[in-house]
Symmetry: C2
Subunit: 220 residues, 2 copies
């Protein structure tokens, strides 16, 4: 990696592709592939090779020119760029069905995001064990976050509680929030939020489905 430009210059669209690159590269690594050309990698991800090179270009010099990328170099480089070169502990707030699903989501650890705290306000859920972790009472939120050095929280509480929980998280020093509640959160500019809205996904799909069923899609 030659020279890292300021992160702020990396376009949003590129950022969203980085995890996919990493994912695929880890897969290749696992099956013993050492070299991979931009074309191979791009095709397997269904994107254009020029785009992939363009993306990598933001970070510069992953390969000696004229030679394909070396998986063994690329993986740690991408991990560093993305920020998972060492495990990022995360907290899950809300141990409802979705929260439990995520806490159980096998790859969480493997992907570099070990779950270090699951919280819920419902006393009935508190104490329950999920993947060897107890569901904790919301009271301990701040303590656990600071003790474990957690920077990222996953929010799976009902929409009506999302904002107040968020405020607590921000105060407790959380820097990034993955928000599954169907609400827009208000946070200071120093906190990053990513909204995962399940319902939006299925509706956008529904539009296309309608489109297909009505033969209205531009496929002649």
């Amino acid at each position: 990696m030659r020279k890292l430009r300021r992160h702020s210059e990396v376009p949003e669209a590129t950022i969203h592709r980085l995890p996919r690159y990493l994912e695929k590269l880890k897969l290749l690594q696992a099956i013993g592939v050492e070299d991979v050309s931009s074309r191979q990698l791009a095709e397997s991800l269904d994107i254009k090779a020029s785009q992939l090179r363009h993306d990598f270009h933001y970070f510069g010099g992953f390969s000696r020119p004229g030679r394909p990328y070396q998986v063994g170099k690329l993986v740690p480089a991408l991990e560093t760029i993305i920020g998972v070169s060492e495990p990022q502990p995360v907290a899950i707030i809300g141990a409802g069905h979705l929260g439990q699903a995520l806490a159980n989501y096998a790859n969480m650890d493997v992907q570099g995001f070990p779950v270090r705290g699951v919280f819920d306000a419902n006393p009935r859920l508190v104490g329950l064990e999920i993947r060897g972790q107890p569901v904790r009472d919301m009271d301990s939120l701040e303590d656990v976050i600071s003790q474990e050095g957690i920077r990222i929280a996953i929010l799976t509480v009902p929409a009506q509680f999302a904002q107040s929980v968020t405020d607590r998280l921000v105060k407790a020093g959380i820097v990034g929030i993955v928000n599954f509640a169907p609400t827009d959160l208000k946070v200071p500019k120093t906190v990053a939020v990513r909204n995962e809205r399940l319902a939006v996904g299925i509706m956008a799909l529904s539009f296309k489905v309608k489109c297909i069923l009505e033969g209205d899609c531009g496929i002649e």
Copy 2:
């Protein structure tokens, strides 16, 4: 709604905003709001008013010019456009934690997507009741889909089974798939797929978090 252009001309980015418009408008409707200007609506969604008008412009004539939008007109119009003017039954394939979370996801029905079939290959899960619905054996997949007229499937099976299940779904007449498996599915062009990759979301967030922690974000 004056004159509907071909759906294929509606930009992707607009499509992804439509569900958010609908969501917010339903909310407004619920609290009795009748009129809403593009500025109000846009601000509450954190987008520019001009963009909102531009989006609506693809479908034309939601309001008499010079007058604000009427919530009561807009909601059904959007529902028709998105394709949820009548309930779209969906199937969930894979009754693991994520599948169960989605099946339980309260708003599914309300959003216009009643779950009409939950399937799993694991005999231990088959028969389990989720929200009054039994988990069914994969054997009955095709039958249920055709009997219930299901067009949309939500895929929450492990990655290794995703493609073979997809092939069955396509054969059974499914037209849209929301894919939660971390794999790219191969489908005919007449089937729409939307990938929801949970891990990608958290990684993209991690990049920004790193960015914030390193003071490298362009915020001077």
